[in-house]
Symmetry: C2
Subunit: 353 residues, 2 copies
């Protein structure tokens, strides 16, 4: 090792899901939306200003922030945007989790939380989910340097009732509480309105799942003006211009077509409920999911073996080699046709055991 390497920040990076690219693949491994973005996005893309690419975008991302403010009927100063919700969350960890007490989050949760804590040297303490994969709210009633959890939780899909979230907020007036709502649009109830009541609450959402725009990288957060200002200041200390012109224009456009949005989300929910029924018939068990994925286990199958068998057929799901969940698979909800391919394989797989 060279001497200069002594000053390098050592990290254990997050491993994103595979991004295979086979024409025949059934890609149910990274919680992408199987339907394209709102059709208006296509027209907007075709009309996008080419000459303006030479100019910096507005550093405040005004076009997108104002569109979000209109859509959610909030003040633009209550909204922060970033390069996907990962960028928003990373910036929030950096900004708000600077205390000596540990930050609290579930043991089974989005696997980026401990990575950010590692990167920024933030002390943390995982709170175990109950056996049924629900969060025990009382675990978050102790002194801490911050609280963060997804709702619905990932990769379990389990939703926490809004009243429980408010209980956690009631018991945490002295540290920032982040509710990561990446999957909230698939049937969950958002904590967004609570930002009017709790100045230490940050609610994070994304265009990647319900709005079918993972490829554009747009995340956003709601909070009181003060908490958003802190986040903006940190962002302006990192990179003035994070959102490029296509993100701003296409993101704002996507918010205009509410009918398409509703329709897409409802299709995915219908497919999810149908898939749950079929999976149960095949002997799989799973907590009730309010997201665009189902987290399943089977008494007779090894999750890892099934994962490999599916992969051979170019059916991609997500497997986490982690304590407590190493016999589970996270299956993204695709189109009905994609789920039928998966279910047909599972049926065959079960018979051949």
């Amino acid at each position: 090792m060279e001497k200069w390497e002594e000053n390098v920040r050592r990290v254990t990076p997050y491993t994103p899901g595979e991004q295979p690219d086979f024409p025949d693949m059934v890609k149910l491994n990274t919680n992408e939306n199987p339907y394209p973005p709102a059709p208006g996005v296509l027209w907007r893309m075709r009309e996008m200003q080419y000459e303006n690419l030479r100019l910096y975008p507005a550093p405040g991302a005004d076009l997108l922030v104002n569109a979000l403010a209109d859509y959610y009927k909030m003040d633009p100063e209550q909204i922060f945007v970033g390069v996907g919700s990962d960028d928003v969350l990373a910036m929030a960890f950096l900004t708000f989790f600077n205390g000596k007490e540990p930050v609290l989050f579930p043991d089974i949760t989005y696997s980026f939380y401990d990575v950010w804590a590692g990167l920024f040297r933030i002390p943390y303490e995982c709170q175990p989910l109950l056996e049924d994969f629900t969060i025990r709210k009382e675990d978050y009633y102790k002194p801490n340097g911050g609280v963060v959890f997804p709702n619905p939780n990932a990769p379990t899909g389990v939703e926490m009732p809004l009243a429980d979230i408010e209980d956690i907020l009631q018991h945490n007036r002295d540290s920032v509480v982040i509710v990561d709502e990446a999957y909230i649009d698939f049937g969950g109830i958002s904590a967004r309105k609570l930002v009017e009541k709790y100045d230490n609450l940050l609610v994070v959402q994304t265009f990647s799942k319900s709005r079918s725009m993972a490829g554009l990288r747009i995340g956003y957060a709601f909070g009181c003006k003060k908490i958003i200002k802190y986040l903006q200041d940190a962002k302006y200390s990192f990179n003035s211009y994070t959102m490029n012109r296509p993100s701003l224009e296409l993101g704002a456009e996507a918010l205009k077509d509410e009918a398409y949005f509703r329709q897409t989300v409802e299709k995915i929910i219908a497919t999810r409920e149908r898939t749950k029924k079929r999976l149960a018939e095949l002997g799989f068990t799973f907590a009730d999911s309010k997201s665009n994925f189902i987290f399943v286990t089977h008494p007779d199958f090894s999750a890892r073996e099934l994962f490999e068998a599916l992969k051979k057929e170019h059916i991609y799901v997500r497997y986490f080699a982690k304590p407590r969940i190493d016999n589970y698979l996270r299956i993204t909800i695709g189109t009905d046709e994609q789920m039928d391919v998966l279910l047909a394989f599972l049926e065959k797989y079960r018979k051949e055991r």
Copy 2:
């Protein structure tokens, strides 16, 4: 102040240049390119895949990294990409400047360096430029936690000879040296090839200036495979997918049209040289610039007053209210027509004094 605010990271954010938007404005304040990106970018934009926006981009940004590798005849593993060179530099500060010794950079330089140092709590020590705005290389021959400077320097435009950069590298084998080449394509000589010889060198460039794509946010860095791997690991610990699909596709496309690139850069250089001559005739003095801006002062004018007078005419240049340079203006090189508007005003302004 609420108790939760005690854990907030306090920062002094960077202030980006104004982004006014008047139809008649002459915008010479943020070093944007006055010419549009390569025409191929327009065609690629019109043909961009709409359906694929629902899918995450490749986390390794392969399309763009491979295009850069081909263009510069380097190995893809020697290249890192980010959301503008600010993102690349922020990530590099976070990754490489974790020592106890101060990081060294010039007192007059890109004003984001001390902001990143502040954000990440990195100790630093500014080394004063000589009176003629050149960097004294010997100032960087002492123990340090890292070295960073732009070449050509900003906002002075002064280039450091490659031999001097190599001298700095020779005296700094134990810490990372970052050469920030945002403006290198306007006549400077890149240190890029030195990455083969010095494993602690990182050379940063951008699509924002010479490639007319500030609105897309694309920056990149060259280094040995080891240093790039460290940077990748930190990036994967922050945000897996930073480069969105339009950036990847349009960035890769822009590299294809070498003739257009050369032509654009040469036009800007010609305009710069012509502008230098005229400014000198008007009594302005300035160090010789190898960038797409000129950093000027005038014995008879207050820079701040001139800045305000220009602004009233919707002619925007950049003024920094900072020690040693508070009687200077940084003027971006626009089209010949834009420079003529500026020069005509300056002529009138001088007569009216």
